[in-house]
Symmetry: none
Subunit: 415 residues, 2 copies
């Protein structure tokens, strides 16, 4: 098995280091590399300082086949990246008339003056191969280094960088390093990384070399990703690996790469021609927000009641005062009556009711912060479940919401 | 003026390098450092590989006072930051019984088994100072190196990392490296960056050197930050600068550093002894979620109706079918009737009703996507306002929610 091409991504700009700009450029490049099966060895974000750029380039060629820099090409930054690359390559900056002509053509109709800064933009380190930037003034740059390695410099403006990467850089890289990778991602909910890894670890130890599992946890959900470097495996073998992985964790799988729980639940409701209604106390409208964040949700989401006060629970969901008095707002009895209340509303076929102590206050020894009661079901079948989560208010809200939506998913599928 | 403390941020994890996860951790840390006047020298993202972590640490201590790593502390196989740090420090991994006790306490009530993976989590590089993680199983780690530099290792789960940074790391850093700048932040809502800068620009030009204004826009809100390098200014001069800035933009100021609109609105409601009720259509529960995200909101938030379907608007808010038929669900008439409906609910003194076309579909020439009607008021006074925002569903939801809460804030204050 050949080692995949590996690259180093360097984003240049003080605005990244002082937290003013979130660096999405190297994230985009890392995603694109992964899709090609290229390996990103590391990502550096460094300041607009010549010496630091030179140092990073020196280090880069020792660990990667391809070095890609983004940023530091605009006229305001004094073209620091180009000066640093010229210094690293030990070549002079030379003037490039076609670039001045391009910029003048670009600006002429828009009456933008051609300034000294623009003149600066027409100087490039010698021996460069320029990559035409259809969306801006700064072209991309490509060097085939004597070592056989490649140095690429792209502007920091995200849409210019993406355009240059997709249209010019990637085709050249694929011609030089045609590598492939295959991946399969399961979306899971209802348990944590630890339980999943204990279910998979024995199987994981037997994976063929070139294949690996990654656990990507989010609150109440974990993405499981199987990666195999091509051409290690036959399609049949890969297919059976996918099935083995899914079987081992099937109790927790809700979907595949990129699918969210509200999307998946929405599709199931739509398929079954059912409308859902939500009765929320501690989740305070967050479940409804998750459901209605999906375009087209009006086809299966009827509406909800955020019954935060007991008065709302009684008036709008007809929870009986005696239930609230005898069992409290956070109890099996209350959430079941809340569920009954929402199921009685127009359109509603299935419902979820949640009441809990989100915190940070309001806990008791019997009902500590993080105690959450969930009822779900339809006219025929209703179930209630208690969970105990953390001490953090927002985490309890988010966790309870996703946990509840997953319970409804399983209920609708008869799991 | 002394040089500010400078630090190196290292995020560890294959999932960042293969583009599966956007690294927001080092962005958060960079922002926080900047607010303290600390300088971030560089950010590295590296793989879950022991040798590479060791190399990054060796390099790090040569360029920074403080090295902060995030990630690689979870129980799963690919997490090896602790082993790498032990190798770098040349100390053994030692078992820490209190951590096992903590994890067992945490899991006991939730019936999560204590696995071999959890046992692994109880080993730490010797001579470590553990920082208690209230939100997860992996504590933070702190080392005062002989060189006087500091090495800090935090988990990669964003909410755990933020909690440890804010509660444990930052206070210790501030004790060792006191803040080098002074800042004052105004929270504004109801207008954009352009209007604010036109109000401030003349004054801005006169600011003493060492002082500057930053505009930090968020959806429907802008943070205005005045930064002065210490000790350039006297306290009196800084105080008068703050007052001048606030006076110039007073129409849009809703609070100060860190205050959110739901918090401020909640305080006003509490002070006036009023309960709010919300009738949400296009915002789909998001406004209620914002209000109930604040601890103690049950003292002023009565509840809400997410009347997503016309059936819910009629049944629960008593909007008349003829209004919906003649004017449509997105109209002045409908939101005013929705408001009337929510004001009729128990406890409710003031209310907001929102109905709009969040998109991406459902727009018409007369009512394009982004058309949002808002009604707000109390039993005596009711107002309705139409706004037109973007084509993006989630942005419309968030913008409409904050815009509406700001209208209610001004209504309650008689502005």
């Amino acid at each position: 098995m050949v080692d995949p091409m590996n690259c180093l991504l360097i984003s240049i700009g003080d605005e990244i280091l002082n937290g003013q700009t979130l660096d999405t450029n190297t994230h985009f490049l890392a995603q694109s590399c992964r899709e090609q099966g290229y390996q990103v060895r590391a990502k550096y974000s460094i300041a607009d300082r010549k010496e630091e750029i030179v140092e990073a380039l020196k280090l880069g060629v020792t660990i990667a086949d391809v070095i890609v820099t983004t940023g530091g090409l605009g006229p305001t930054k004094d073209d620091i990246t180009k000066k640093a690359i010229a210094a690293y390559l030990d070549v002079p900056l030379v003037f490039h008339q076609p670039t001045e002509d391009r910029i003048r053509q670009l600006f002429g109709p828009r009456r933008i003056p051609f300034t000294q800064e623009h003149h600066q933009q027409c100087y490039f380190p010698d021996e460069v191969e320029l990559l035409e930037n259809k969306l801006g003034t700064a072209p991309g740059m490509w060097w085939d280094l004597p070592s056989g390695k490649v140095l690429i410099s792209l502007p920091g403006v995200p849409y210019e960088m993406k355009h240059l990467w997709n249209d010019q850089v990637l085709p050249r890289l694929l011609a030089k390093w045609p590598v492939a990778i295959r991946q399969f991602t399961l979306m899971t909910a209802g348990t944590g990384e630890t339980v999943l890894s204990s279910l998979l670890s024995a199987w994981e130890d037997q994976l063929p070399s070139g294949c690996s599992i990654a656990y990507l946890p989010d609150l109440g959900r974990v993405r499981l990703r199987l990666t195999c470097i091509d051409p290690v495996l036959s399609d049949d073998r890969l297919h059976s690996l996918k099935q083995e992985m899914e079987t081992l964790v099937q109790d927790y799988v809700y979907g595949y790469e990129g699918e969210t729980l509200p999307e998946v639940l929405g599709r199931i409701l739509l398929k079954q021609g059912k409308f859902i209604g939500l009765a929320e106390s501690c989740t305070g409208g967050y479940m409804s927000h998750l459901m209605t964040s999906i375009a087209g949700s009006s086809a299966y989401y009827a509406g909800g009641v955020v019954s935060y006060s007991n008065a709302f629970k009684e008036d709008m969901l007809h929870v009986s005062p005696s239930t609230l008095r005898d069992h409290g707002a956070v109890s099996r009895e209350t959430v079941l009556e809340m569920l009954e209340g929402i199921l009685a509303k127009p359109l509603v076929n299935v419902g979820i009711a949640v009441s809990g102590i989100a915190g940070p206050d309001g806990g008791t020894p019997e009902k500590p912060v993080g105690t959450i009661w969930i009822a779900y079901g339809d006219q025929q079948t209703r179930r209630a479940e208690k969970i105990l989560f953390t001490k953090s208010r927002l985490l309890n809200i988010e966790y309870a919401a996703y946990y509840s939506l997953n319970l409804m998913r399983k209920f609708l599928l008869g799991l």
